[in-house]
């Protein structure tokens, strides 16, 4: 397992083995990484009555069906905000926002991606990703979990370079059956399901 350098990344992109699209400026290309730009959708937690994280409530139900209370709690947990280019989004201290990258990523079976903050933004208190591993075979936008760890609000504009992705080769190709992901072909952030496959440890659903 080793990290790819710029020349290898470029070769894989040219040979269509790896997709990071669009790469708009040469400045996005680092020695062993590609800068990622902020997309246009923001999912923010709504601090109100129906906004708690309770895996027990989400257990035994998929994301599109289920009773009214479960679906309502899911939908009301986040506020969805869409910002065109040139519009400012303020990330306040302590706030968490799920945002997509502008770039569409497609990884082959023998590469995994590691997403990290750009250091200039990290120095301002911006945390980019807590789930930073992108699995082999993934395609879609990458969801960044933005958090402001500083003391003052951060003004963010869609299109800014805020993260970077590096690529690591795997010892062998990942198997097709292992490459499925609930978040594959993601066009924008969606809420996760913290109960997924952990139902045995959660209260049973009432009959």
């Amino acid at each position: 397992m080793s990290a790819l350098v710029k020349a290898t990344i470029l070769r894989k992109i040219a040979e269509n083995q790896l997709v990071v699209s669009p790469i708009i400026s040469a400045g996005q290309l680092g020695a062993s990484s590609i800068d990622l730009r902020l997309g246009n959708v923001f999912l923010m937690v709504r601090a109100r009555g129906l906004s708690d994280v309770d895996p027990g409530r989400f257990a035994h139900s998929d994301s599109t069906t289920g009773d009214h209370a479960i679906q309502q709690a899911r939908r009301q947990k986040h506020e969805r905000y869409e910002a065109p280019f040139g519009h400012k989004f303020l990330l306040h201290p302590g706030m968490l926002a799920l945002v997509p990258t502008l770039e569409w990523i497609k990884l082959p079976a023998n590469l995994q991606g590691i997403v990290t903050a750009r250091s200039s933004w990290a120095r301002e208190g911006l945390s980019i990703a807590t789930a930073s591993l992108i699995h082999p075979g993934y395609k879609g936008v990458i969801t960044l979990e933005l958090a402001n760890l500083g003391q003052i609000p951060l003004g963010l504009y869609p299109g800014l370079r805020i993260a970077q992705i590096a690529f690591h080769t795997l010892t062998e190709d990942a198997k097709e059956k292992d490459m499925g992901s609930r978040f594959n072909m993601a066009f924008e952030p969606v809420e996760g399901n913290v109960a997924h496959e952990d139902e045995p440890f959660l209260p049973k659903k009432k009959a």
Partner: protein, 448 residues
């Protein structure tokens, strides 16, 4: 409370609603222009209403209509949330429609103020320009674009807005005069729709297609008697279809057929405003031939792309000539109308489009087949990205070619992409192209 007092109260209510509007975020332009225009209109309305005689029922009736209009518009504004419609598409649509709708109004020249919202129903696609009969229309017109809420991501179908641009242009007096004279005159010059009596005879013709006869038999004779106003509306629809064709190109053909046949699967129904779909398709068939779109595939070297284009043309352009009954215009009539329309649009600053060159289309189609949002980004091994200008209408056409073409990816593997995902890929491609456009524009500014 008398009528005048109530109307003054309603002015206050509209003002309070206007303040509430500022609670939300809006795409497709900020709320500032709309807010300022409304404050001006409300102020003027109140200044005219306060001295009005409470017994002047005629004046009060006019004021009631004006306030009601403001109430409707402020509600549309409040619903103009980004997130219920694809704003990158809307921004491209604005660049097409706004120059055409720029005009000299009573006090100042200006572009209309754009508002966008979503409404329920498949047939809600609209571009409405506020009419100029309002006594308060002293500033800029409000220009409302309405998307079907459930088709939020279906940018491929949104090519139907090309038709709606025609309706918007029709409300502008200077365009209406020119369109009547140059575009509609050749269409109305001859043929079965030449007059109401001929149109009625045509609709009652024994040689009409079977579905027409079936529909005729379901209704009384009155239904088949074509009135003057009805015929005028039909011609406006024909003209708007030509608008759609030349402003959106091939993607309009596909959106037109898909949506209209969804609303009327028989393709033969008619109404007070719309002629039978088959007649509209027949007219577009002639227009495509006049524009030589039916020969487009022959110029394509890439075999897969050529096959996709042939399949597309076969479905949406039609490989066989329309039947004699629905063929209400000759090719010469349609050609004259198309040739008159294009310079009118170009003079207004609305760019027309045609079938793109292979070099423009092929990369977009390949990206889509590989499940990559299509845009003008290219990094072919060099460390300097090439950002191509891509016409958003080429992205839409590429989408339709993939929707109806082969499912082979560039590596030869078969991969079916469902229609919703395809639309989302194109929507994402439009968004990414907006970013590229913005970057290119800034770069050009630096170079200058």
């Amino acid at each position: 409370m008398n009528s005048k007092e109530f109307l003054l109260q309603e002015c206050e209510n509209v003002r309070a609603t206007l303040q509430d509007v500022l609670r939300h975020d809006y795409a497709a332009g900020s709320s500032e222009e709309f807010y300022n225009e409304f404050c001006e209109r409300l102020g003027l309305l109140e200044s005219l209403l306060r001295p009005a005689d409470p017994s002047d029922v005629s004046a009060l009736g006019t004021f009631a209509e004006e306030i009601s209009l403001l109430s409707t518009l402020v509600h549309h504004m409040e619903r103009s949330h980004a997130g219920e419609f694809p704003w990158p598409f809307t921004e491209y649509l604005q660049t097409l429609a706004t120059p055409l709708c720029k005009e000299h109004l009573a006090q100042n020249e200006g572009e209309p103020i754009i508002r966008v919202y979503a409404e329920g129903g498949l047939d809600t696609y609209q571009i409405n320009l506020e009419n100029d009969l309002s006594v308060l229309n002293v500033g800029r017109r409000i220009f409302t674009i309405v998307f079907p809420r459930t088709l939020r991501h279906h940018v491929l179908l949104h090519a139907i807005f090309g038709h709606e641009i025609g309706h918007a242009a029709w409300t502008i007096p200077k365009h209406k005069v020119e369109l009547l004279d140059k575009v509609l005159r050749p269409l109305r010059a001859s043929g079965p729709l030449n007059s109401t009596s001929q149109a009625t005879a045509w609709l009652r013709d024994a040689s009409a297609p079977g579905p027409i006869i079936e529909i005729r038999n379901q209704y009384a004779d009155e239904y088949t008697e074509i009135k003057r106003k009805q015929l005028d509306s039909w011609f406006q629809e024909f003209m708007c279809d030509l608008f759609g064709l030349v402003t959106f190109g091939g993607s309009f053909l596909a959106a037109h057929q898909t949506l209209l046949l969804a609303l009327d699967p028989t393709g033969h129904r008619w109404g007070p405003y719309h002629p039978p779909y088959i007649c509209r398709k027949a007219m577009l068939w002639h227009a495509c031939r006049h524009l030589k779109w039916n020969e487009f595939a022959t110029s394509i070297k890439d075999e897969k792309l050529r096959a996709d284009i042939e399949a597309f043309l076969n479905i949406y352009c039609g490989s066989t000539a329309p039947g004699p009954w629905e063929n209400v215009f000759t090719e010469a009539q349609v050609a004259a109308a198309v040739d008159a329309l294009i310079p009118i649009l170009n003079a207004a600053g609305t760019s027309c489009t045609s079938m793109p060159e292979e070099s423009r289309l092929l990369p977009l189609v390949r990206m889509l087949k590989d499940q990559i949002p299509p845009c003008g980004s290219d990094l072919s091994g060099s460390d300097t990205p090439v950002n191509r200008d891509v016409d958003f209408r080429d992205i839409l056409l590429a989408g339709w070619l993939v929707a109806d073409g082969s499912t082979a990816q560039s590596d030869g593997r078969e991969q079916h992409i469902n229609f919703l995902e395809l639309n989302k890929l194109c929507e994402m491609g439009l968004l990414q192209q907006r970013a590229i456009d913005r970057f290119n524009l800034a770069r050009q500014g630096e170079d200058a």
